[in-house]
């Protein structure tokens, strides 16, 4: 039985009104799709007298705007909207794939990208995609607005740079100009799965040399992480078996995943290593055969 006494949902239609409400005190929680918060309520995590600020009537939080250098997604955009967006599918395929792995269709119709960020689960489905696309998060309050580079946003388990009176309002994704990408969510079933491991990668190869590589992982740390050590080690190098093996070994040694109800540290390390290694190896083979067809292979 859900406790509804003493709780009120405010429904502002203007962003500024939502920000004023949020500034009034920590008894008011922003509520978008509610697919996380309603589950918390169901399990009795409610604090008596906790109120909610309904963000779904604020139209400025519902837009996907195409800009010259990238796309600006408002925080209240649902995963269903992302799935229906041609520009997201075309230019940000890793995010598009991740959106389709969230919960179920019924959840995607409600859950928002802003909520996924704010909830800050280490397993957040869209978060590794935002990491590899170098997302920029806009935070707004009654005091003004600021932008944070998303890889710097999470600072600990469910702790972020967001101040209590701030709302996540926009997510800016700069266009990425490479072509290769990889997304894989490892879970126990086809839907409604919280990931044991999730991998998002972007790769750009120029005549066998790695001109850009970005790797982000979910469910292996207190928050989703960019693997900057691997990226640094690989960027500018020729892609080959030795490089892949060495970097995957270093990556899996650096990881410090946990044993939890969903999986073990050993499994997570092992699966991350295999998925990353297999993907990079498949890119190597493709590059090789491209070169082969061009007659550029010597020996």
């Amino acid at each position: 039985m859900t406790n509804t006494t003493q709780t009120h949902m405010y429904s502002p239609t203007q962003l500024i009104d939502a920000l004023v409400l949020l500034n009034e005190g920590d008894d008011k929680t922003p509520f978008a799709g509610g697919s996380d918060l309603m589950v918390e309520r169901h399990f009795g995590k409610e604090i008596a007298g906790r109120h909610f600020i309904n963000l779904n009537n604020v139209t400025e939080l519902k837009t996907i705007v195409i800009e010259p250098t990238g796309v600006r997604i408002a925080s209240g955009v649902t995963f269903a909207q992302l799935r229906a967006s041609e520009i997201i599918k075309d230019r940000f395929p890793v995010l598009w794939l991740a959106a389709g792995e969230v919960g179920t269709i019924a959840i995607q119709n409600r859950a928002t990208i802003g909520g996924n960020i704010a909830n800050a689960s280490p397993a957040g489905d869209s978060l590794p995609a935002l990491l590899v696309y170098d997302a920029e998060i806009t935070l707004q309050s009654v005091n003004g607005s600021r932008n944070i580079y998303y890889p710097d946003f999470h600072v600990g388990y469910k702790r972020s740079a967001r101040l209590p009176n701030e709302l996540i309002t926009k997510i800016f994704l700069p266009y990425w100009h490479g072509s290769d990408y990889y997304f894989r969510k490892v879970g126990t079933r086809r839907a409604q799965a919280i990931s044991k491991v999730a991998v998002s990668m972007l790769l750009s190869l120029d005549k066998g040399v790695i001109s850009d590589i970005r790797l982000a992982l979910a469910s292996v740390a207190p928050f989703p992480v960019r693997c900057t050590n691997l990226e640094r080690a690989m960027r500018g190098s020729s892609l080959n078996d030795e490089l892949i093996a060495g970097c995957v070994r270093d990556l899996t040694e650096d990881l410090k995943p946990l044993d939890d109800i969903r999986s073990t540290a050993q499994y997570r390390r092992s699966v991350v290593g295999r998925l990353v290694g297999d993907y990079l190896t498949s890119c190597l083979k493709m590059t090789y055969s491209d070169r082969l067809s061009n007659g550029n292979v010597l020996g």
Partner: protein
């Protein structure tokens, strides 16, 4: 604190085409509003945590788990429940096919399954088995093993084709 202290808002919406007007706590679940205030008990609570799909309804034509929606967020919206599903030709076709194919045992999952099928067949009237599985992935059944539910959906899709031939 007594129940008289519960803050209440005016909630107005359409349910199966009928205008509803109630004074309710804004955080009351849409599921409870449908079952208690509207008296429509076709929509079931299977888990209360958005995992099973038994409580699925349409809000402005979109499939949602009503256990996760506070009534404040359906203000001015149009809700369709399983009872309203049979107002449409497609809903009746799904019902016929489900019966014909034995897609129901205890019936607890059936309303949610029908709502999800409605959405699928509206968007795609010739789904493959794989597409059916993907679209129904949010609806759990403990009885049937799903086979006859999927057969029911295929039958509903095919019977439309048959009618138009």
């Amino acid at each position: 604190m007594t129940h008289n202290d519960t803050p209440k808002d005016s909630i107005q919406c359409l349910v199966n085409g009928v205008k509803q007007d109630f004074h309710l706590n804004s955080m009351k679940r849409l599921l409870d509003f449908i079952r208690q205030d509207c008296g429509l008990t076709g929509t079931k609570e299977g888990c209360g945590e958005g995992e099973c799909g038994a409580c699925a309804v349409l809000v402005d034509g979109e499939l949602v788990n009503s256990c996760l929606v506070p009534v404040a967020q359906v203000q001015g919206r149009s809700i369709t429940t399983i009872e309203g599903a049979f107002d449409s030709e497609l809903g009746q076709r799904i019902q016929k096919s489900f019966l014909h194919k034995g897609a129901t045992q205890c019936g607890a999952c059936t309303p949610g399954m029908v709502m999800a099928s409605l959405v699928l067949l509206r968007a795609n009237n010739t789904p493959s088995l794989d597409e059916i599985k993907r679209s129904l992935a949010g609806n759990l059944c403990r009885c049937t093993g799903y086979t006859k539910i999927f057969a029911g959906i295929l039958d509903a899709a095919n019977s439309a084709e048959a009618e138009h031939d």
